[in-house]
Symmetry: C2
Amino acid sequence: MSSTKSYAVHSATTPLTPWTLDRRDPKPHDVQLEILFCGVCHSDLHFARNDWGISIYPVVPGHEIIGRVIAVGGHVKKFKVGDIAGIGCLVDSCRECDNCKEGLEQYCFGGAVFSYNGTEKDGSGLTYGGYSKEILCHEDFVLRISDKQPLEAVAPLLCAGITTYSPLRHWKVGKGQKVAILGLGGLGHMGVKLAASMGAEVTVLSHTASKAADAKRLGAHKFILTTDEEQAKSVANYFDLILDTVSAEHDYNFYLGMLRTNGTMVCVGVPPPSPPVGAFNLIFQRRSLAGSLIGGLPETQEMLDYCAEHNIVSDVEVIAMKDINKAYERLLKGDVKYRFVIDMATL
Amino acid sequence: MSSTKSYAVHSATTPLTPWTLDRRDPKPHDVQLEILFCGVCHSDLHFARNDWGISIYPVVPGHEIIGRVIAVGGHVKKFKVGDIAGIGCLVDSCRECDNCKEGLEQYCFGGAVFSYNGTEKDGSGLTYGGYSKEILCHEDFVLRISDKQPLEAVAPLLCAGITTYSPLRHWKVGKGQKVAILGLGGLGHMGVKLAASMGAEVTVLSHTASKAADAKRLGAHKFILTTDEEQAKSVANYFDLILDTVSAEHDYNFYLGMLRTNGTMVCVGVPPPSPPVGAFNLIFQRRSLAGSLIGGLPETQEMLDYCAEHNIVSDVEVIAMKDINKAYERLLKGDVKYRFVIDMATL
């Protein structure tokens, strides 16, 4: 075991504080990273505060991890010391179920191991995330990172990027399609960039008028202020796909009415109270309400390569580790454009 | 205008009583039917009692209509006097929108005209359904009926049949797929017969143990008593498609957990209180909750032809017109196997 510095939260009501954690011993297929940047995802906050009731403390959050390889096991083929690499939301899975075999490790039936607050398959205990100096996992769960893009802006692709890329691909977004992005935050701003790059007509749906200019800057073709009744009506039966990135309470039925025949609204956020769904809103126009969880390893690599090729990164605000608690407060208020990323050199 | 005998309901709290209604004048493309049989759909009851708050009285229910052609307009090509023909849930649509052009008249953006409680496009007033002696509509909305099957048992195909056939086709049900039918009533029993005929493994989900034998008789391979925790657990992450035919209050989340990766639950019933949907149940395993409304005219004809070819009809209990109010009471208690059909000769 090796000790590494980190920031951890020890209860739902206390702030993140410095903590020294013990990483498990490396194995022949493991890649060890010195972490350079780690994105701050809204899920980090949910886990820190036990919003979903599943947190196991201490929690070391962080699953948008970019680092430099500092050691590799004897069997590692994909990476060598000095490489830049990434670790996202997953560090292991059963590798045997149909989903794992298809590269859909996020839907592993044997239990995917998440990068923090997960349980290692070898019995070595809890997983701890990227708010730390070093991390290690099996090379199959480590991603290749292009050297052509600023690393701090690439980090958020590992969750915000793949969470929006995967449903856009699964529902075959492309030219001629009308796509709405509901909510312009960390996930939403990636959704806009990605959907626009795929050739779709992109509309941002938001209840904040001041986001209109940014929506356009990010690549959206239209902006609908959802609190304006006329604007909302103008997109009734309009969209092929709505990507719903909102985690706060909201009315699914209001947005379902904006889907055209055979349209789908895909949720990637989890509103705390389960929204009621009127069956009529689905039955008329044969609409669907669906969900999507990050992406598997092959698709995450595909997304990283796609973003490198199309020069797509996240809009980030780099912070020091000590400012994480302030960042969480600002995140709660939606005061970030559009992702905090921790410069781990400051730990 | 021509007078025709019917049974109508004049308020949400009064029973169906005999009423003489005036049918609009026939036009050159109209086909006039003497009604032989009319199925009793649960929607008839919902409209009679204004359960959805959209009833316009008087209501003459009935949209599973089989009759004999007694007159045709000068431009009618599809039918001649003496033919047996059917009219289902639709009697007109805008014919100009993209959905109409694709034969998805049920999703007409210009406003499909339903067989009762609808508004005629020519301004001639409300439509009145099949609890009557005669009916007429444009030949495009009249269906060809095989002479090889008992007509009383064919009538329910025009709503219960197409409502279950359409989603099974749209979601490509076939060999190798695991399909659940939730609820074994008028719709559900057709769902079982149709899904089994398409080669799927069919499971009936029901909270009534006594339905197990019937489920098997109708063609189901499995029966899951949903109140039995062990049985319910045995189908976690199991089905490719759940066809939810239940109109009573029920918990969508309980059934969503039975869908495998990429599985879909399709609602064709409308529970009066909108059920809450937990986004986690959709996000994990990329599940969908969808809806489906009857079917368009081409697909309804396809379904009728398919049922004639595969010798599929509804299980019916034929009643006299005067017994309709008793039948509604029994329908409310689920006491029918599986569809009441009115012998219109009794009117």
